[in-house]
Point group: C2
Chain length 356, copies 2
DNA sequence: CTGAAAGCGCTAACAT
DNA sequence: ATGTTAGCGCTTTCAG
């Protein structure tokens, strides 16, 4: 029969009785606080084991009047958010803190997620790529420490941890220049978080290489449809670029599919660089050269800031920029032979000669 | 100064004092239990508002000695899990229950997720596509009600809610037959959850249409690489099928990219059906015809089972199958003219004539 | 090193 | 209709 189920979970008292000690002693053992003889410690642990006792978190948190819980607000459908959440779990491991997840989705707003987390009295909030207005975030920050990830936000009230997107875009451009490209366009992300930085990085890198006259901004976006549009826009021009850096992988994938369908070989006739190193980029049929973010570093930073501020009355330290890295796959190559002649200007010239 | 931050959250007592009533009264109002005059009710609400009071969930749960929380274990990186979680949030809305999320990832096992949820004393567990062994799940089910979603599991100890994959596969096949295809292959999912059912559905549908001799199983899998392989396998055969149903969208997308790269037009020369209606299927550059699962129905079912069993000592009702639906996009069409002549056998013939 | 006792912020009888 | 009084399961002093 299944009727052995509703047996109420063992309590600390049960364990104490079984071990023949006081409740306080059990508590001490489970917090592994000092003040319990090795013998008793073992005795307690054994009793707990037999009863398969597990301390009740709610009661714990209530009792010590600190929740030691960090709330994390993330977008359920964002691949990269998932990655960050995973990393956050990792770095939270032995921090003495717990993570509480508040998911966001088209049908579930950020405020809702935030509210439920606050109702559980988490001590700090990590907001991943929030769409909340700066004002709302600052209001929130007056109630509890707030750490914003993956979104630029100029505010002294919160910590901001994000990838150095200006540099990420630069990496992409420099990689292409290193291969010998000069006509390099950027399919930008409009008003998406990070888009402005990546656009600026692109421009800066082009200028730094003396290619300001080649700067070409294509209207892109976050989705593959946006990439499609950008590709059509590009192909309709009289002179196409030989390489494109896209706002993100999705957009790049859209471009990839579109140009290939029209007979433009990638990377033979066009080099393409994405951004994010998301799953789609590593698909064998896509194999996108892209710019990856260091999820682990971002998570470690964010958590340590959150904890620091929960533990003390520390103030926000401002913005932390984590460096991106270039992931070279198979959508970038040297430009076709009929590309404009390279002026010897770059300091790191492309490989001298290769029989392929 | 930010020093107005660490102000401890208002407690029920604070509200009571401010409203000039007893704590119990406040409690009554906030549980909206009967037994408070409209006047006092308003007074309390007003006081709470001014103090921006929010009841402490932990204390609430502890006090009523029921957590009214349902734990949900899901894979952070699974698109479809995210969809289900979102739907679960929706249907939980006014159920009087809360959801607690336990995420799973390569670096965070299911047992870990389950354990943390249990430590919060949630009253039931919804496991989305768990990889836990049947034995482990049954053990778990002796501690608290367990509902398994999106995985077949023959067990009287748990509720199982999943899509009727046999029928889903059948839908795909019948769609293709309706278009006039006869040489229909299936790129199967090996040992993945659901793969056996979809394979069987494919076989059954083929047999039912008198096409048992055309049954062709291609070795596929869950990833686009698997799809690539399946496509290569297919193209290397002397006579290729005119249509393929794939285990999932990923696999279908892999096939799509591969065959197109080799000059096979989709849907002109080959029709392709995916499974899951995941995001990739709706991309404009993919536009995959696919079989969709009814996330909302699955979620509603799962939640109601979980609550029913948490509320009473109800026993598991066994398996609930939710019907899938066909989503027709642009990777399926009538077979090329050189396809084998259709025998007039199907009851629903393809559209009589179309000038295209 | 151990045990008694007072909370933590709430719920839920039970009186009034 | 309102207030009183125990808990819920744990933490944390503070005496023994």
């Amino acid at each position: 029969m299944t009727s052995d189920r509703p047996r109420r979970p063992a309590t600390m008292e049960d364990v104490a009785i079984r071990a023949g000690v006081s409740r306080a002693l059990v508590s001490i053992v489970f917090r592994d606080a000092p003040g319990a003889s090795p013998v008793n410690r073992r005795r307690v642990l054994a009793a707990a084991e037999e009863l398969s006792y597990r301390p009740d978190q709610r009661a714990r948190l209530l009792g010590r009047n600190r929740s030691r819980t960090i709330g994390v607000v993330f977008g359920l459908h964002h691949e990269f958010h998932a990655e960050l959440v995973e990393r956050l779990y990792q770095v939270t491991q032995d921090s003495g803190y717990e993570l509480a997840l508040g998911a966001t989705a088209p049908t579930r707003g950020e405020r809702q997620a935030v509210q439920s987390l606050i109702d559980y009295r988490c001590e700090a909030l990590i907001l991943i790529g929030p769409f909340l207005s700066r004002r709302t975030i600052e209001e929130l920050a007056r109630e509890l420490p707030v750490v914003v990830m993956a979104r630029a936000l100029r505010s002294r009230a919160v910590d901001v941890i994000r990838t150095d997107d200006v540099n990420g875009a630069r990496l992409a451009v420099e990689h292409l220049i290193g291969l010998g490209h000069r006509r390099i366009a950027h399919a930008h992300g409009q008003r998406a978080p990070g888009a402005a930085e990546r656009r600026n990085g692109y421009r800066a890198a082009m200028r730094a290489a003396g290619l300001e006259r080649e700067i070409l901004l294509l209207p892109g976006g976050l989705t593959d449809e946006d990439g499609e549009r950008a590709a059509r826009h590009m192909l309709s021009r009289t002179s196409s670029p030989t390489a494109v850096t896209a706002f993100n992988d999705q957009c790049a994938a859209g471009m990839l599919a579109t140009v290939r369908k029209r007979g433009v070989g990638v990377p033979e006739n066009l080099s393409l660089v994405g951004y994010d190193d998301s799953r789609i980029a590593s698909f064998a049929t896509v194999a996108l050269t892209t710019v990856g973010q260091d999820g682990y570093a971002l998570a470690a930073c964010a958590l340590s800031r959150a904890i620091a501020r929960a533990d003390s009355t520390a103030e926000p330290t401002g913005e932390v920029l984590v460096p991106p890295r270039l992931v070279v796959r198979q959508t970038t190559a040297r430009p076709a032979l009929d590309a404009p002649v390279r002026r010897s200007r770059r300091s790191d010239p492309p490989p001298a000669s290769r029989s392929n």
